[in-house]
């Protein structure tokens, strides 16, 4: 075990832990934001530069500070390392710049984007960005394309985090999803727009931090903050079957995998769970999903406190009573 200090908080972690994961052990403000890093996707990280932190002391052995900010998702902690995240004005200043860079080619079409309300870029910009922009140049535009019957790719919104290509590479067998060209011209593309016919392809939607990949069955049907996310599960031979049902009244609008507080899916779900079971009868509903209090999804519904009620209560609730949760604050 080695010692590391992040924003003045000391903790012990195992050797080989990244700064990001050490910070996540502490939680809260100390955790750097991440737009491309995804724990379960091998090779992710190091691209978006949102998680840059200052290393004020390299290690106990070599106490020199690192000359430049480092990407916390792909830098391992050293014994005696001192890291500054939210306590460093330089880091915060830089992060504002990264928001600007990310928005240089990202349209501000949140009002018509299905991702709004659960968009990592929206949250990142809200937390760390400025309210104005200095870029007044034409953003790149692409026509949205269909990737098979379930997924829509809206390249205009893509921030090139490469997560989806890794899902295609690591979760699905046949890789038809990749990055073409280079530099500012880079784009995610599907080879000859061939349908991604794999049982786990739907997870590309969940890992996309922005609205570049959306669920064709859900597009324009509802806003996430009008929906009640409910934890549910079913017996599935292909995946864990643990999902979130996004409901309004009796109707299931969409099914997604469960995300943790860092917007990451730990247990990927199969396409059958995602798209073939819109009937609540197919599911064992566990109860309302805990949603971070600050999230817009909690608006006018329930707060984290509600969820801390005994779990048994929720499992006993029948379908008709869900509506009564609306309005609870």
């Amino acid at each position: 075990m080695i010692k590391v200090t992040i924003d003045g908080i000391e903790l012990e972690v195992e050797e080989g832990t990244t700064i990001m994961n050490a910070a996540r052990k502490i939680g809260g403000e100390v955790v750097p934001p991440a737009m491309c890093y995804y724990t379960s996707l091998k090779g992710s990280g190091g691209k978006c530069r949102a998680c840059l932190v200052k290393v004020a002391q390299g290690s106990a052995k070599d106490p020199r500070p690192m000359p430049k900010l480092v990407a916390s998702c792909c830098t391992n902690v050293q014994d005696g390392m001192v890291v500054l995240n939210s306590t460093s004005p330089e880091v915060l200043e830089t992060r504002r710049g990264i928001v600007e860079f990310l928005l240089v080619n990202h349209p501000l079409d949140c009002p018509i984007c299905d991702q709004a309300g659960e968009c990592e870029l929206q949250n990142f910009a809200f937390d760390h960005g400025l309210q104005k922009t200095r870029s007044e140049f034409h953003r790149r535009e692409f026509d949205p394309i269909d990737i098979g019957p379930h997924i829509k790719l809206h390249m205009t919104r893509c921030i090139l985090c490469y997560r989806c290509t890794m899902v295609a590479d690591q979760l699905t067998e046949e890789r038809v999803h990749g990055v073409l060209w280079r530099g500012e011209a880079s784009e995610i593309s599907t080879y000859i727009q061939k349908a991604v016919e794999n049982d786990f392809s739907g997870n590309m939607i969940d890992v996309c931090p922005v609205g570049a990949l959306t669920d064709r069955h859900f597009r324009f049907r509802n806003r996430v903050w009008f929906l009640n996310p409910m934890d549910a599960h079913r017996n599935c031979s292909k995946c864990s079957g643990k999902v979130v049902l996004w409901m309004r009244g009796e109707e299931v609008y969409r099914v997604t995998a469960r995300k943790d507080q860092y917007d990451e899916v730990k247990e990927f779900i199969c396409n059958e769970c995602r798209w073939d079971h819109y009937d609540t009868k197919d599911w064992v509903v566990e109860g309302p999903r805990a949603v971070e209090k600050w999230s817009v999804i909690t608006a006018n519904k329930y707060s984290k406190e509600t969820v801390e009620l005994p779990e048994q209560l929720f499992s006993k609730l029948d379908n008709a009573k869900w509506d009564s949760f609306e309005g609870v604050t």
Binding site: L69, T94, R134, F137, L160, L180, W181, G183, E184, A185
Partner: protein, 587 residues
């Protein structure tokens, strides 16, 4: 026949990706769907992945590029030497426009950044054969001969070395008399550790521009316990205005190869790879011939120089048009047949490099210097330099001067002396170490050139090139050329470099239009600084260097370029164009 190393270690098939793509590109003029599908099947990867690799390198095309594919250099030196006229001449003579192929499919015209011939601009590559010192008449002549069916290889130029200055014979390091294998004979008596000691004593530092102590790389690789190690020579000389490696490989290829063999012996490697940039196809046969000569003598192959058990061979890998592949980890990715995207720095290449095996990557000049050090001894090498900066330095000089070419300078020479030597004409703006380096004004001409003082900014630490511009040259145009280059060459994997270069180019275009004020200039600088501080690899970290230093050093020049009446409103706003979509929709 000399004995060829029995392949103990087989490089995985995927490493042949670029070679295969080159084969299709050269045989058919482009990579068609069948070829792509074939490659995907052959390597067991998806078609999109092959497509991703193809689209990363700008010498690979998915559409026919004509019987004669012409790449005209659009770097800044070419631009000041009459690029515009040559471009027009090519379009007039071939009937094609740049970026396309003419109707008959004979000529394909394309632009490419610096092709390493800055001393003989304007220059172009036709089917990758060099044509230098172009003018409108020459272009007309070339095209008419090609139309008659003359092969480009039979009429191409042989670029001269233009070695303009060499210190006295005993002080020269690179251009002293060369005898094949003189240094190799000393290998056995020194032993691997002895070689590293000698390199350490010589204080040789990486001549690619980073000046990292060479012995540290070699020692670290030597210490790695691994079944296989590699020596990679970085001959991807992509920095515009730099052509020193071209000259070394053209006339002293043996020195480079010798350096690689010595390194291989010191670290315990059996395989060396020269990553040669696609622009230097015409040098490939020369290097191949040198390699063959070495094999015949017994300097490559089994039991080299009668050292029992020292087997080593070298192969050449052609790059395919990507500046970022000069970044060492991007180069490794490219060698492995992938998109040349720099790796996340979990490990140094000396720990896990090519195919995850310990790898030494050095520049051509570094290997040449290493070979000479073993030949002449570390002490003599150091004596030819100054304290802290051993040896000599090769500098590519181009731009507004009478004698563009290669200068082997003694460290400690001042900028003024170099300008005098090359016959600089009214120098005003000098770009040191290429676009990613820094710019200096003529007022700084008494600064010395050395390896020292990177931070103190007293001396100029030069990676290898001087581009000289006189007072008539438009500095904004120069910077715009650089930013267009970086925008084109950014791999796009990290946000700051992808978006930053785009923004900087857009901003500079506005500056060129006069739509700029002091606040804009400071904003431009802040974009640049941000990109510098946050980018993932050297490309993004250095892309704004010259811009930032120019804003500081040529502030008055920029102020003079502001439109006096500019009040922050876009005077050149084109209302009709801006509302075109709306009008179309309305009707």
């Amino acid at each position: 026949m000399p004995e060829i190393i029995s392949k103990k270690f087989q490089e995985p098939p995927r490493t042949q990706m670029l070679n295969k793509l080159w084969q299709f590109q050269q045989e058919r003029g482009y990579i068609d769907d069948d070829a792509l599908k074939g490659l995907a099947t052959e390597f067991g990867i998806s078609e999109i992945e092959v497509e991703g690799v193809i689209s990363f390198y700008h010498f690979f095309h998915r559409k026919p590029t004509g019987k004669y594919t012409i790449y005209l250099n659009n770097s800044i030196v070419s631009e000041i030497k009459g690029f515009q006229r040559i471009m027009e001449a090519f379009e007039r003579e071939t009937g094609a426009t740049f970026g396309t192929v003419d109707r008959t499919g004979t000529f394909g015209l394309f632009l490419t950044p610096c092709i390493g011939l800055s001393d003989q601009e304007p220059a172009a590559l036709i089917n990758f054969y060099p044509f230098t010192n172009l003018n409108a008449i020459k272009v007309k002549d070339i095209i008419s001969r090609l139309k008659q069916g003359v092969l480009p290889e039979s009429i191409c130029d042989a670029p001269s070395d233009n070695i303009r200055y060499v210190p006295a014979e005993d002080k020269s390091v690179f251009f002293r008399k060369y005898q094949t294998g003189q240094a190799l004979g000393k290998m056995e008596s020194l032993g691997p550790q002895g070689i590293i000691e000698e390199i350490k004593k010589s204080e040789l530092a990486g001549r690619g521009g980073a000046f990292y102590p060479t012995w540290k790389k070699w020692e670290a690789t030597r210490q790695q316990p691994a079944s296989q190690k590699f020596v990679v020579c970085n001959a991807d000389e992509g920095e515009p205005g730099t052509f020193k490696d071209r000259v070394l490989m053209n006339s002293y290829a043996g020195s480079m190869i010798g350096g690689m063999i010595i390194c291989g012996y010191a670290i315990g490697a059996t395989q060396g790879i020269i990553y040669l940039r696609g622009e230097y196809w015409w040098l490939k046969s020369k290097i191949e011939a040198a390699l063959q000569e070495f094999r015949v003598i017994g300097f490559l192959g089994k039991n080299i120089c009668d050292i029992k058990g020292f087997d080593f061979d070298i192969r050449i890998q052609m790059g395919a048009g990507s500046y970022v592949c000069g970044e060492e980890t991007a180069l490794l990715e490219s060698l492995e047949g992938k998109r040349g995207e720099p790796r996340t720095k979990w490990y140094f290449p000396v720990e896990r490099g090519y195919l995850q095996y310990p790898t030494v990557i050095n520049n051509v000049e570094t290997f040449c210097a290493a070979e000479r050090i073993i030949e002449m001894g570390a002490d003599a090498f150091r004596e030819s330099g100054i304290p802290g900066s051993p040896g000599t330095k090769l500098i590519s000089v181009s731009g507004d001067c009478k004698l563009p070419g290669i200068y082997e300078i003694e460290w400690g020479m001042t900028v003024a002396e170099l300008l005098e030597l090359c016959g600089a004409e009214d120098p005003y703006y000098i770009q040191v170490s290429g676009p990613s380096g820094e710019c200096i004004t003529v007022k700084e001409k008494f600064r010395r050139i050395s390896m020292l003082d990177l931070l103190a900014r007293k001396d100029i630490r030069c990676g290898g090139s001087f581009m000289i511009f006189n007072k008539q040259r438009d500095i904004v145009k120069i910077l715009l050329n650089f930013s267009a280059f970086f925008k084109e060459e950014s791999c796009g994997i990290c946000t700051p470099c992808r978006a930053g270069n785009f923004i900087i180019q857009r901003k500079l275009e506005r500056l060129q239009d006069g739509l700029f004020n002091e606040a804009d200039l400071q904003e431009l600088k802040s974009w640049g600084t941000l990109m510098k501080n946050t980018s993932r690899c050297g490309l993004g970290k250095t892309a704004a260097n010259s811009l930032i230093s120019a804003i500081d050093k040529f502030h008055d020049y920029f102020v003079a370029r502001f439109d006096k009446d500019f009040n922050g409103l876009n005077l050149k706003f084109d209302m009709a164009a801006a509302t075109a979509d709306y009008e179309k929709y309305k009707s």
